[in-house]
């Protein structure tokens, strides 16, 4: 039987991991990544005014795309298991980018969701996703926490939390407990969908599978469905593990929908804001080339704060999305990871800034939120995701220039609260919501309503 061209392509990706040049990992970080990015920033003149939060310079966006493409082609990806460099020719990259869909439908029945490629400044709708995205939560709170997202009609679908334990035992990476944990995650997720009457809604999963064990065990009959939103990822910077390649091959065989993500690090080997922008573009291209997903999120994370709402990072992300959107059909997602936690206005301001900065940049999906930088157990609620989606939808149709002005109004509301290493943790779910009714408690609801009014007045948007 003859393989399809795309299947042969995926086999060639695995070949690269086996036969590429052997490279020392320190050499990779310092010379392949850092030195190359420094050179590319100079070569393509990647710079912008530090006051600008949402650049609106198409030529700069296109130069950034060229820089990212050159990084992708000349450096490629590092396979952590084989210690080899995986490299692509321009023809191979052009081929795999040409196979990318402009539109994809997830979910089942009445709960189907369409994700579409968007251009900068376009007024077509975005897709919105809510969930804690791997933020740890207690077993007994998984269902109420996930219901707090799934019950919000403004959210098209959900992405799961990570269970702190499974049946009272710790979930150890690479052990049978991963399979146990992911099966519990799947069963609890279906209970969530059942409770809100949205059984066909896609689920971002599996969030308890650091190796491939959990994902492979549960993307099967009775477990997570092919129409859910399965994950495979890179490790910073531009590294991939066998586990993620294994997941990708599994998705290729089963036809499961695959979302790829990568957290390039601001202040790490990529350097500052300009290098970050180059790495964002290369990361998205290379995730497509390596993992062959359908939607892509490039992080990033601050080296000390773990957030991506730090002011200097926002233009890098906005410009990176513009570069991808203008030059490919790839569908990208913006994913705020704020320093603030539930029941803080900081969380809402940070989320608003990211929504306004990235929706006009041409993203397809606005997803979130890893509140309190996703660090603190149970510090997540559905209300912040609802707020994010409201601001995101209200930002559809804004031009980048208009968005730039608005983001400049929002930044001063939170910037001086982003102190080194400190999450503004807020309160856990059970202090922000009534766990029985799964409705926000008055303090959090009041803060949310007040901030909505504040944003409407400040930004001139209707939430």
């Amino acid at each position: 039987m003859k393989n399809s061209p795309i299947y042969d392509y995926m086999l060639s990706v695995l070949d690269k991991a086996e036969h590429g040049p052997v490279v020392d990992e320190n050499d990779w970080d310092f010379n392949y990544i850092n030195r190359t990015i420094k050179d590319l920033v100079k070569k393509y003149d990647i710079q912008w005014d530090a006051e600008v939060m949402v650049p609106a310079d198409d030529d700069l966006a296109d130069r950034l795309f060229e820089a990212g493409m050159e990084l992708a082609r000349e450096v490629g990806v590092y396979c952590l298991d084989t210690k080899r460099q995986m490299k692509w020719s321009q023809e191979e990259l052009d081929y795999i980018l040409s196979t990318a869909p402009k539109e994809e439908v997830l979910g089942l029945g009445e709960d189907k969701v369409t994700v579409r490629h968007r251009l900068p400044d376009e007024d077509s709708p975005i897709t919105t996703i809510g969930g804690p995205y791997g933020t740890p939560v207690a077993e007994e709170l998984f269902v109420p926490i996930m219901v707090s997202y799934a019950q919000e009609s403004i959210l098209d679908y959900i992405d799961n939390a990570t269970l702190v334990s499974t049946h009272g035992r710790p979930i150890k990476a690479g052990s049978p407990w991963e399979a146990v944990g992911c099966w519990q995650e799947a069963q609890l997720s279906f209970e969530v969908l059942e409770r809100v009457g949205r059984q066909g809604m896609p689920i971002g999963c599996a969030e308890d599978s650091p190796s491939a064990i959990g994902e492979l065990a549960t993307t099967t009959y009775g477990g997570f469905r092919l129409t859910d939103w399965h994950h495979a990822s890179f490790i910073s910077e531009l590294k991939v593990a066998y586990a993620e390649l294994t997941k990708s091959i599994h998705y290729q065989h089963t036809g499961a929908f695959s979302h790829n993500f990568y957290n390039t690090i601001y202040g790490g080997y990529v350097g500052g804001a300009e290098g970050l922008a180059v790495a964002i573009v290369a990361g998205v291209i290379l995730m497509k080339a390596t993992l062959n997903g359908t939607t892509f999120n490039p992080g990033p994370s601050h080296a000390h704060l773990s957030c991506n709402t730090f002011p200097a990072m926002i233009p890098s992300l906005s410009l990176g999305f513009q570069a991808i959107s203008r030059n490919t059909k790839l569908m990208t997602s913006s994913f705020p990871r704020p320093v603030g936690g539930p029941c803080t206005k900081t969380l809402l301001y940070e989320s608003a800034a990211m929504a306004v900065a990235t929706v006009p940049a041409g993203i397809s999906i606005l997803e979130g939120i890893q509140s309190a930088a996703g660090r603190i157990t149970n510090h997540v609620t559905g209300l912040e995701a609802k707020f994010l989606a409201q601001v995101g939808r209200a930002s559809v149709g804004l031009t980048r220039s208009e968005a730039n002005e608005l983001v400049q109004h929002i930044i001063p509301l939170y910037a001086d609260q982003q102190n080194l290493g400190e999450a503004i943790q807020g309160v856990p779910f059970e202090e922000a919501y009534d766990v029985e009714t799964i409705q926000p408690l008055p303090e959090w609801q009041g803060m949310y309503e007040e901030t909505c009014r504040e944003m409407e007045a400040l930004l001139g948007l209707t939430l």
Partner: protein, 223 residues
């Protein structure tokens, strides 16, 4: 007596310039003056490296610049200070402590751990970096082999945290509690978790990790 604050400032700047030999030549020249090698190490070299670490903490420089500075400082130590101290029969210790560092089993993330490694190095620690996805038993063996003062464990994921607990349990089970301390860190790690598993300390970021390691060795922080 030399103006040590001025010298500190000069060295911390030289550690960050393009020319990798600039600090080396400057140290040799400075030590021909009226400052002895022991005073130079304690009052100029160590605080200058700490100042570079602080710049990274404030994101005034980025990880690659910190790596360059650590390499340059190492060369000054090995090529200038150590020979002079050997010649002067000084009993001054150039190393503030030995630390074994690893991202625990199941965790392939290394940038956070690498940042801590570099911050420890620029603050005068000898660090044995075991990399990522390291099994508890291997970490213990390394700590015994190098007679570590501290073992530093990093985990970015809740699913790797059980291996931190295993590491502490193995240390205690093998009767090594008096040999070395265990410090833990990483995005999901809290002070409560640290206490729960019986680790000795917790650093919520690279800067705090250095402070806590100094405290574990009962050494004062660098002013």
């Amino acid at each position: 007596m030399a103006d040590v604050e001025k010298l500190q400032g000069e060295l911390s700047e030289l550690l960050l310039v393009e020319d990798p030999d600039a600090g080396l030549a400057w140290a040799e020249e400075t030590l021909k003056g009226d400052i002895g090698v022991t005073d130079f190490f304690n009052l100029v070299f160590t605080p200058a490296m700490a100042a570079v670490g602080d710049k990274f903490g404030r994101m005034e420089i980025f990880l690659p610049e910190l790596m360059d500075a650590a390499d340059r400082a190492k060369r000054i130590s090995e090529e200038v200070l150590q020979p002079m101290m050997a010649a002067s029969d000084s009993d001054q210790e150039l190393i503030r402590g030995k630390i074994v560092m690893a991202s625990v089993k199941g965790d392939l993330h290394d940038i956070g751990k690498n940042m801590v490694v570099l911050m420890l190095r620029v603050n005068g620690f000898e660090v044995f970096d075991m990399g990522v996805d390291v099994a508890p038993r291997d970490i213990l063996d390394k700590a015994k082999e190098v007679e570590a003062d501290i073992v530093g464990l990093s985990s970015l994921m809740t699913t790797s945290m059980p291996y931190m607990k295993e590491c502490v349990e193995l240390r205690n089970g093998f009767g090594l509690k008096g040999n070395f301390s265990v410090i833990v860190g990483g995005a999901p790690i809290t002070a409560e978790y640290t206490a729960e598993i019986g680790a000795d300390s917790f650093g919520k970021n690279a800067v705090e990790a250095v402070e806590r390691c100094l405290a574990l060795l009962d050494r004062p922080a660098i002013e």
